[in-house]
């Protein structure tokens, strides 16, 4: 018996240790980012685009990257929604439950979910070459949309399967068409869809590999889809590689800005999903 007790004690110790380690690491990461990023954070950073000497340490800010990322993710989310929502509705509420097609589809989406962002970036690049496009907002949108479609599908699917079968049967027995039933369901799923959107934004806005080849980089805020655009992850990355300390420090504050954006998104997503489960039927 005592060997068993010993085993239990050892593992319990390991478990607690590992939990504390992980908790500690998160706090440490946040601490470092704040510590390094706060000093260089200024109103200027988020309200101005880089001036001529920005990369030499002079005035300006990263508004180009902030706006660029926002535009990029906005369009990507719209495109992604246009595809993800119908897909999930189709798999869950139009096809029969156990159809082989839906099993195959889900497998495909699981695989797509695991594909790294740089592959999406490289593919986006080949598409652009094929159509003769330049690195631009549009190119970035293609790559990021491809990246977040599987994320959105998975997230919405997770809540769609929770819809009780009785609700669907009820609307169907009232003579509703499939489309009308789906309209009702979508309304029901709106909180879940918002969570999915928030998660996708989180994933898409912070990803540098997708936009590396496809969106280009520029100091100005894009005014059309054909123009290249700066993005936050790349802004951080490029500035960090600079030999000038002032510029490096700005990279840290850009990292802080990005982290804050993500934290806000995360909290909102949690808030929405909790509200959703409270209001379930």
């Amino acid at each position: 018996m005592s060997i068993k007790k010993l085993e239990e004690k050892i593992f319990k110790g390991l478990m607690i240790g590992s939990s504390m380690l992980i908790f500690g690491v998160l706090l440490y990461i946040l601490y470092i980012i704040i510590k390094k990023g706060l000093p260089s954070l200024s109103w200027e950073m988020i309200s101005q685009i880089p001036s001529g000497g920005f990369y030499l340490g002079k005035e300006g800010g990263i508004l180009n990257a902030i706006m660029g990322s926002l535009y990029l993710i906005f369009f990507s989310v719209v495109i992604s929604l246009l595809i993800s929502v119908p897909v999930v509705m189709y798999l869950n509420f139009t096809l029969r439950k156990k159809s082989r097609f839906s099993a195959f589809a889900r497998l495909t989406f699981d695989v797509l979910f695991g594909i790294p962002s740089i592959v999406y970036g490289a593919f986006g690049f080949t598409v652009m070459i094929f159509f003769g496009l330049q690195a631009s907002l549009f190119g970035g949108i293609i790559a990021v949309s491809l990246l977040i479609i599987p994320v959105m599908i998975r997230s919405i699917d997770e809540v769609a399967v929770l819809i009780p079968v009785e609700l669907i049967e009820a609307t169907k027995s009232l003579g509703a068409t499939n489309y009308e039933t789906i309209k009702v369901i979508v309304r029901q799923l709106l909180p879940g869809i918002s969570t999915a959107v928030l998660l996708s934004v989180g994933r898409g806005i912070g990803d540098g590999a997708t936009v590396l080849f496809t969106a280009g980089y520029t100091d100005s805020i894009p005014t059309s889809l054909a123009q290249p655009t700066a993005t936050l992850p790349l802004a951080i990355f490029f500035q960090l590689s600079s030999p000038i300390e002032e510029v490096q420090n700005r990279a840290y504050s850009a990292a802080l800005i990005l982290t804050v954006i993500i934290l806000i998104l995360s909290f909102s997503a949690r808030y929405f999903s909790r509200r959703f489960s409270k209001n379930k039927i």
Binding site: F23, I83, G114, I115, I153, Y179, F237
Partner: protein, 298 residues
């Protein structure tokens, strides 16, 4: 009235089907697109040469991917070796032993960590892990290390994928029915015995799925690794040496692509390699899961 309703229904159905087929098709489109773009270099050099030689001199027309492939494997391997045990231990503790308050606090922490973009981990890695390895850790083992190394990349990746694994495992363990735990405890098993023999056993499919996802993510991660791996082509002799995983290769060199013939095709080949390995891995593990389900009906 009915006619227009039916018409709307038909249109909706077609739209949904189209969207679904398109989404499925993306997978093949991506694979196909990358493959087609890799053909030139594959035809010129031959698959075997590409995969097994280490000479990387694009301006001389030499493209050997071996050291990049190996770097990727090393880095991913280290990441998994660090991340998996820690994630398992932590998830078990949080779900099985910790109080609800701790559970709630921890899941917030995990969600937050999971959302932090890779580039931030990269920044943090250069600020903390790299100097640590260079100044404190490596001197015990090797003569010299800049800190930008296999180990740095592995550690940063591990920290990145831990929240992912934990969030999946937490769900998986919570899904084990309460009655099953009670049945085990009613027979006189201790909590730990119950966890070992019932909870973990029942969760094996979930654990496998989480691992597969984590490996996929680690394998293909670009920016974070780029910032801490050293970007040095020669094969690393120890974990304290710099390395050059495939994603970093692609990211660093895309600017040069146009200048040399075949360079573009080579990088597309690298991307295709990544794609192929990950898809293969995912499909194989899915098959394994199906087999487990059939045999053990957990």
């Amino acid at each position: 009235m009915l006619k227009s309703r039916l018409l709307k229904d038909r249109i909706a159905r077609h739209y949904m089907l189209t969207a679904t087929v398109m989404a499925i098709f993306f997978l093949f489109l991506i694979g196909g697109g990358l493959f087609v773009n890799s053909l030139p270099i594959m035809q010129e050099k031959g698959l075997w040469t590409l995969l097994t030689t280490s000479n990387w001199r694009p301006f001389k027309g030499e493209f050997g991917f071996a050291s990049y492939i190996l770097s990727t494997l090393y880095v991913t391997g280290i990441a998994i070796v660090i991340a998996l045990p820690l994630s398992l231990l932590t998830s078990i503790y949080i779900i099985e032993y910790a109080s609800p308050k701790i559970l709630r606090a921890f899941s917030s922490v995990v969600d937050l960590l999971a959302g932090i973009p890779p580039v931030i981990y990269g920044v943090w890695g250069t600020l903390t892990i790299v100097p640590f390895i260079s100044e404190s850790l490596a001197p015990h083992f090797v003569e010299f290390s800049t800190g930008y190394s296999v180990l740095a990349a592995g550690v940063v990746l591990a920290i990145m994928i831990i929240p992912l694994i934990i969030s999946i495992l937490m769900e998986v363990f919570s899904a084990v029915p309460k009655e099953m735990r009670e049945a085990s405890m009613s027979l006189g098993a201790t909590k730990w015995q119950t966890v070992k023999k019932v909870v973990i056993r029942k969760s094996i499919p979930g654990i496998i799925a989480a691992t597969v996802l984590a490996i996929s993510r680690a394998f293909g991660e670009t920016l974070a690794v780029l910032m801490v791996c050293g970007n040095f082509t020669d094969l690393p002799k120890s974990i304290f040496d710099a390395c050059y995983p495939l994603p970093a290769l692609i990211a660093n060199n895309y600017g040069e692509m146009m200048s040399v013939p075949q360079y573009e095709s080579a990088l597309m080949f690298a991307a295709f390699l990544l794609f192929f390995i990950i898809v293969l891995f995912n499909v194989i593990s899915r098959l394994v899961l199906i087999q487990i389900d059939k045999r053990y009906q957990l």
